[in-house]
């Protein structure tokens, strides 16, 4: 039985003139709304996406802060409430050196990084007086991850509120489009918290692990700040193997280490082999190893600059081995595939030694990366 009122409606021209006019006006209204205000509707939808992501980022940030406070209280046994000190640390910032005149910027950057490192360590020691050296490094890493999450949250919130205030399509669109990458990175930091809190090896330590496996059972000396070196005989060559001093979360200053070794031996080194974790492309397998040339080291460029400079001065070739992993894997607990890749990397080093060096040659092997949870 058709409904009496509705069955009278005839939107396609068969009804009375008033019905036809009403349908025409309604159709035009919808057409106008979608045609003229499509961008505004889209902006509203994007803002909702960003608000959802911001909510997730806030949860991650709060969780990280909670983990940091709990861990520092557990390990460091502070005498007073450290909440305010931690909150102050999370708002810490640094001002990059001016780059209008780039000459000497590396030295300025190095100075800034050294000051920052010292400052962070002092802060952590004040927060956690009962912690030993390795724990200070681990807590510093934990606070840095928390700081990163707080910074990501603050930046996204800034653009969200600014975009909402100005209703600028371009600001909102850019943030919305970057959200998958931002969230991926934030989730990686979030996943790294427990690793830093407990001192577990992380994916970035793949290079340090290779060096540790080589130098284990050999005598070690500290050749630069937080960098240890061991002389290892391997396949008739003398390997000067270096890595950051573990097992605390530390990357050391391998650039200074390589420079010290090359200077000490007056450049009489056949090759420098650097092993580091590197970001894989989507579709590539975690733990795959690639070989290339150049200084395989990340960071802000200071350490790479030092290695490139000294290698060029002595005309020593620099060979690079990279162990592939994603950004999440790099700062999350080390996966089995990455751990196993360390043995494959040693096989590759031996092949490079056989193909590119002669008996009794001296070779520098630098294992780069955060050595958290990896001693030597």
């Amino acid at each position: 039985m058709p409904l009496p009122f509705i069955s009278q409606i005839s939107p396609f021209g068969e009804g009375t003139w008033i019905q036809n006019l009403a349908w025409y006006l309604i159709s035009m209204l919808f057409f106008m709304v979608f045609f003229l205000f499509y961008n505004r509707i889209q902006v509203t939808l994007w803002l909702r996406d960003i608000a959802g992501a911001l909510n997730r980022l806030k949860v991650m940030r709060d969780d990280a802060r909670r983990v940091a406070l709990t861990t520092i209280n557990e390990i460091g046994k502070p005498q007073e409430d450290i909440t305010q000190r931690v909150d102050r640390f999370l708002e810490y910032f640094e001002i990059s050196p001016v780059n209008l005149d780039p000459a000497g910027i590396i030295l300025k950057l190095e100075h800034l990084i050294n000051v920052r490192d010292e400052r962070f360590k002092e802060e952590v020691k004040m927060m956690a007086p009962a912690s030993d050296e390795a724990q200070v490094h681990n807590l510093e890493n934990l606070l840095e991850a928390t700081w990163a999450l707080n910074t990501i949250y603050r930046i996204v919130r800034h653009f969200y509120l600014f975009g909402k205030k100005t209703m600028s399509l371009y600001i909102i669109m850019q943030v919305q489009m970057l959200l998958p990458i931002i969230l991926q990175e934030a989730e990686a930091f979030s996943g790294a918290l427990n690793a830093f809190a407990n001192g577990q090896p992380i994916g970035d330590g793949a290079g340090a692990l290779v060096a540790a496996k080589l130098m284990h059972n050999y005598e070690k000396v500290e050749i630069a700040k937080d960098v240890v070196m061991a002389e290892i005989p391997l396949d008739g060559r003398k390997l000067l193997t270096l890595k950051a001093k573990g097992p605390g979360g530390n990357v050391g200053r391998p650039g200074e280490g390589v420079k010290a070794l090359l200077d000490k031996n007056e450049g009489k080194v056949a090759i420098v082999i650097m092993i580091d974790a590197a970001l894989k492309f989507e579709g590539e397998k975690t733990g795959e190893i690639s070989e290339g040339i150049g200084a395989a080291i990340g960071g802000e460029g200071v350490e790479r600059y030092k290695i490139e400079e000294v290698a060029t001065r002595y005309k020593v070739p620099v060979s690079a081995l990279i162990i592939k992993e994603s950004i999440q894997e790099a700062i999350s607990p080390m996966k089995k595939e990455i751990f196993q890749a360390a043995d494959e990397a040693i096989t590759r080093i031996r092949r490079i030694l056989a193909e590119r060096t002669k008996d009794d040659d001296m070779v520098i092997v630098a294992g780069i990366g955060n050595t958290i949870g990896i001693a030597q």
Partner: protein
């Protein structure tokens, strides 16, 4: 400088809801015309179906999405190994473990064992915020 959004979410929900109701009305009219054998029934049915789909899509987009956090739950395994007889033992990671740390005595030959590996086995779970 400050601008208010022209369309609040509530207004958009209203627009899409009205659109959905109109589309369902047209769909219903199409059905009546189809039953009566009218030649223009297909125009009604297509218009109604298309409008209903569009309105449903709009409402779906506006719905507050449940925020899921892909928490990565790691199972960290510590492997201890006897340097003499090669006996291997796996256990859960404990705070303070690190690679090359001396561990308990080997149950086979009573020699000191050593941690030779700490790695994760990843399990992804969804945490509801």
């Amino acid at each position: 400088m400050s601008k208010r959004p022209l369309f609040g979410v509530g207004f958009l929900v209203l627009i899409f809801t009205v659109m959905l109701m109109l589309s369902l009305t047209i769909l219903y009219l199409g059905y009546i015309r189809y039953v009566n054998g009218s030649a223009d029934s297909m125009t009604y049915l297509m218009t109604g179906a298309f409008g209903a789909l569009l309105a449903t899509y709009g409402i779906t987009q506006l719905r507050r999405k449940t925020a899921y956090l892909h928490l990565l739950d790691y199972n960290i395994v510590t492997t201890t190994e006897c340097q003499k007889c090669g006996f291997k033992s796996l256990r859960k990671f404990e705070r303070g473990d690190h690679v090359f740390k001396p561990a308990d005595k080997c149950p086979k030959c009573n020699e000191a064992m050593m941690i030779t590996s700490i790695h994760s086995e990843e399990k992804t779970k969804k945490g509801l915020l």
